[in-house]
């Protein structure tokens, strides 16, 4: 069976390590980007089934990366979960305005993230 592919985009080494540790135990292939620009490039090239996108990243932040991904034919419908240390309502709203499908806050709650991943992948 073909594994589903998840793109993780975060400039934080600790955040990437945690997200990878949670996801590699599940039946997913994980690829990594370390800024928003890289995330858009990799999403176009690798066609992930789902993208987990940090908000605060260098070069291009997560909101802008999400906005661009929604403008591209290849990634228009790819589910996106945004991740941030900022859980205030206006930040969450900004994420939905640029087209994310769901939202999690740091520190990451493993069961919550995995539940949202499975839900968006239709599992």
């Amino acid at each position: 069976m073909l594994k589903k592919k998840i793109l993780l985009a975060d400039d934080s080494r600790t955040a990437l390590m945690i997200e990878r540790a949670l996801l590699v135990g599940s039946p997913y292939d994980v690829i990594v980007a370390t800024d928003g620009y890289d995330a858009v490039q990799q999403a176009v090239e690798a066609h992930p089934d789902l993208i987990i996108l940090d908000v605060v990243m260098p070069n291009m932040d997560g909101f802008e990366a999400c906005r661009r991904l929604r403008q591209l034919d290849t990634t228009r419908d790819t589910p996106i979960i945004m991740v941030t240390t900022r859980g205030e309502p206006h930040n969450v709203e900004s994420g939905y305005e640029v087209g994310c499908n769901d939202y999690v806050t740091k520190p990451i709650n493993g069961p919550e993230l995995l539940s949202k991943v499975r839900n968006l992948l239709g599992e």
Binding site: R13, T14, M17, G25, T85, G87, E88, P107, I108, G110
Partner: protein
Amino acid sequence: MHPVDEEQLQEALRENARLTERSLAVEQQVTDLANLYVAVNSLHAATDPAGVIAALREIVANLIGSEEFALFDADARNGHIRLAAASGVAAFRFEAIDIGSGIIGIVAETGRPYVRREGGSGQSGSDESITACLPLRIGTAVTGVLAIFHLLPHKGVLEDPDLDLFEVLSAHVAPALQFARGYHGGRT
């Protein structure tokens, strides 16, 4: 077709609920263990003091849920605590701290951690705003103190896995810093 046995159906549903609950508990355990592993790995991967501070900043933000901390070196010979790094709080607040004075000084003196599970409140950098104040040890000697101030609003309260993480920080920040200072100093 056999008619559905109501009792069997109910038992299957109960079993499903038990398995779901167990699965969630395992996922939480994986998260907690991953946090501890990532914290240790990040601290010891740094080869210069700035790298250790950057790792600490990420650990405090991504694993604990705060953006405010101050790191101190304890100078037992002179009875002072010296600020080594601060993030999200004004450094001038910590210009002169005597060992044994205030929460930070008392933690340096006694080597016993201070934890306020509901999180600190009040003016940033004040004793009231401290969520956790941890002795940093090399072996049994307290060589520094880490003070973590306000929690992020969505964090709520500290839970048991956070306390496990504090123990890791207590045991690993000072050795990581000592190694990084020595390694970096030897190369420059």
